[in-house]
């Protein structure tokens, strides 16, 4: 996201200064709108419930660390974190792997019915996940995949295919055919071209779709909610919602848990902001 300087900004002049001040104030107010609920959570985790009632805004007095340290020392936090991580990575590996293969075919092979098949996948974008949850549950029960990580991984990968295939296909298409020709001259098989040339060249696109898949999996709630009955299998969103009802009388503790549960997602965002934002923007606007 390289920002181009834009907008008719005339240098100097008090009007420009006044205007910029107003704009700045607006942005700051919006910033507060975004930050205050999170800040309330972060600070709330350092308070006890009495402080939360009497002093919701101010700094904790005294600072209470036990909410955070208790959770950090507890398996109720680390286990769902581990589960979410495993499931997100497995989903991503499967989804991106399968989608890359399909995207390769859609991008660089011509055959009858290709566009029809491709259409089929793009139609998948119109299925909101919620639509499928009930029949999916029935199917997973038939397959014996309830209470099994694969019961979450496989459907998540399947539902991630459309957007992944679309982004990868358009990236694969953009790779000049001269490269492919050269590879063929050198005796490269289609698979060799895919594996040794296309995928390495597509690293930025692969990173983008991987980050998208990880975030989607990480935040998925509905599917793990119905698939995992065993608390040891719960992922972060399910664990957060359970923790919330479990300790409903202890607001400060719930806030601390919620804040800690935010950290991994925000950390990933901090590291992979470029891929995430770029992926969403290109996913939405690539035509």
């Amino acid at each position: 996201m390289k920002a181009l300087p834009s907008g008719p900004v005339r240098p100097g002049g008090t009007r420009a200064v006044a205007r910029n001040t107003v704009l700045y104030l607006i942005v700051l107010v919006v910033g507060l709108f975004v930050v205050v609920p999170i800040g309330y959570g972060v600070l709330g985790g350092f308070k006890n419930n009495g402080q939360l009632s009497n002093n919701p805004f101010g700094l904790p007095d005294p600072w209470i660390f036990s909410n955070y340290t208790d959770i950090l020392g507890s398996v109720t936090f680390w286990r769902p974190l581990w589960n979410s991580t495993v499931i997100a990575l497995a989903t991503t590996l499967l989804c991106v792997g399968v989608a890359a293969m399909a995207g390769f075919i859609f991008a660089r092979f011509a055959f009858r019915g290709r566009e029809l098949l491709f259409m089929l996948f793009t139609v998948g974008l119109m299925f909101p996940f919620a639509v499928a949850i009930l029949p999916l549950f029935v199917l997973l029960r038939e397959f014996g995949l309830l209470n099994n990580p694969l019961g979450v991984v496989l459907p998540q990968a399947a539902f991630g295919l459309p957007v992944t295939i679309i982004i990868l296909r358009s990236f694969f298409r953009a790779i000049p055919s001269e490269i492919e020709e050269a590879a063929t001259m050198d005796g490269c098989t289609p698979f060799g071209f895919f594996w040794r040339i296309l995928l390495p060249m597509a690293r930025p696109a692969l990173a983008t779709v991987s980050v998208l898949a990880i975030v989607t999996s990480w935040n998925n709630f509905m599917l793990p909610l119905v698939v995992f009955n065993d608390p040891t299998q719960w992922t972060i969103p399910v664990a957060v919602s359970q923790f919330n009802s479990q300790y409903s009388q202890d607001t400060a503790k719930v806030l601390a848990y919620v804040v800690l549960a935010m950290v991994p997602a925000l950390a990933l965002y901090a590291v992979a902001e470029r891929q995430l934002v770029g992926g969403l923007a290109s996913g939405a606007t690539k035509g």
Partner: protein, 436 residues
């Protein structure tokens, strides 16, 4: 990426496969050991998955203590306890029921909900296993877990729903004695309003507390047998049900509930129990667990100000004021549970162990002989009313199958919110019953 093309491909697929296998193993280890020792040697090593809903003190530590005791005596048994909050548990168990894969021991209230779980192959029949202890348990308490001569659960608690009220508020409003009839009750509500006191705390968001009103009014009008007959005939649109709805509407029209009751939960710091515990309302219609939850959620103890009276009589009704609606917690046993699960349940309801649970004040004894552990005068009142009850009805949302019970809860909630008429409620419940 240096080797020729087929190799990395195999490696790639291999990695996928390994990943899947790894996940698969993870899945097996969590559910596999249950089925393995089902019906096997009671002395073999086994793990019991136990879900209960006492997720806060005072009962939480009692269950833990009893489990520790049991495992200390039986070194081959391990007990994994999962305490889940009531609402979350009910929601969770619905997916458990659909998945057909139950924990080894789980909370139940018996009735149509348990029956559906049994029909879904979720819970075990326990008739033979419990024959040895059945006579030591209070028979009303076992009823909800028993049909067609077979037993499907072990109760640990039996009680009833009645009005818990704040004597200080009643005195302030000039109410000298607890109301004995519905008319007196409405008068009391008016007096409380007049004195600037919120008459009733209600968890409208949780829905089930509201259905107590409609159930009691219906039972007072029809009598317990009439109510059971309506359920059997799947006809809830007789004049008595509509009249019950009208009586409830009379109450609702007085606007007796706390601010924001429509969205209020039961057991949170903003919920029904906390409002009551904080002294912000004069009464709540609740079960035997109410005082314990009030204390836990508000952090305060009403102490001697708290008292209890039965749901009032309704003029012209066939029911008696001694007919009771209530029930109590129990445990069902999952179909793949290890043999120690049943043994552990028997252990839980020995008279000695019942005394420990009863001593917390949130459970009333199911085991004969444990009555002496009731320390609280008001809990004694409740236990007394249960033992003298002339007719017994389990909470409708447990007695009826989920599709009907949830419709009762939902329709009554809408009646209380003014979104449904008494006739609408009768019609909705009848339709649900006939569709079930």
């Amino acid at each position: 990426m240096t080797a020729s093309s087929p190799m990395p491909r195999r490696a790639f697929l291999g990695a996928l496969g390994a990943g899947a296998t790894m996940l698969g193993i993870g899945a097996c280890s969590s559910s596999g050991d249950d089925s393995g020792n089902s019906g096997g040697d009671p002395n073999a090593a086994q793990t019991i998955e136990w879900w209960h809903i006492q997720n806060t003190p005072p009962m939480l530590p009692v269950w833990q203590e009893l489990a520790d005791q049991y495992t200390a005596q039986h070194s081959n048994v391990k007990i994994n306890i999962t305490p889940i909050e009531n609402e979350a548990f009910k929601a969770r168990l619905t997916t458990v029921t659909q998945s057909g894969d139950a924990p080894d021991i789980f909370q139940t209230w018996g009735g149509g909900v348990l029956k559906q779980q049994v029909e879904a192959g979720l819970a075990k029949e326990l008739t033979g296993d419990l024959a040895s202890i059945k006579d030591s348990l209070v028979s009303t308490g076992v009823q909800p877990y028993e049909w067609d001569g077979k037993v499907y659960g072990v109760p640990y608690d039996i009680g009833m729903v009645g009005f818990w009220y704040n004597k200080k508020h009643f005195a302030t409003a000039g109410i000298s004695a607890p109301p004995a009839t519905w008319t007196e009750f409405l008068d009391a509500v008016r007096k409380l309003k007049g004195a600037g006191i919120t008459p009733i705390s209600l968890a409208g968001g949780a829905k089930w507390p509201g259905h107590y009103y409609w159930t009691y009014l219906s039972m007072r009008l029809l009598g317990p047998d009439g109510l059971k007959k309506a359920a059997a005939d799947k006809k809830f649109d007789s004049p008595e049900f509509i009249q019950a709805g009208r009586h409830l509407k009379e109450l609702v029209d007085l606007q007796p509930f706390q601010n924001g009751f429509l969205g209020a939960p039961f057991d949170t710091p903003d919920g029904e129990a906390a409002v009551m515990g904080n002294g912000q309302a004069a009464m709540e219609l609740q079960g035997q667990w109410a005082p314990a939850v009030q204390k836990e959620q508000s952090g305060k103890d009403l102490g001697a100000d708290l008292d209890w009276f039965s749901f009032p009589a309704v003029d012209g009704g066939k029911g008696k004021v001694t007919d009771t609606m209530g029930g109590g917690g129990g445990f069902a046993v999952g179909k793949d549970a290890p043999p120690a699960a049943i043994d552990f349940l028997k252990f839980l309801v020995t008279a000695d162990n019942q005394r420990k649970a009863v001593a917390t004040g949130s459970v009333l004894p199911i085991t004969k002989g444990a009555e002496d552990a009731i320390q609280d005068a008001r809990q004694k009142k409740v236990a007394d009313a249960v033992s003298k009850s002339t007719g017994f009805q389990l909470y409708l949302d447990q007695d009826y199958p989920p599709s009907v019970g949830q419709t009762v809860n939902d329709s009554v909630a809408q009646l209380i919110a003014g979104a449904m008429s008494p006739e609408d409620v009768a019609k909705a419940v009848t339709e649900a019953a006939q569709n079930a």
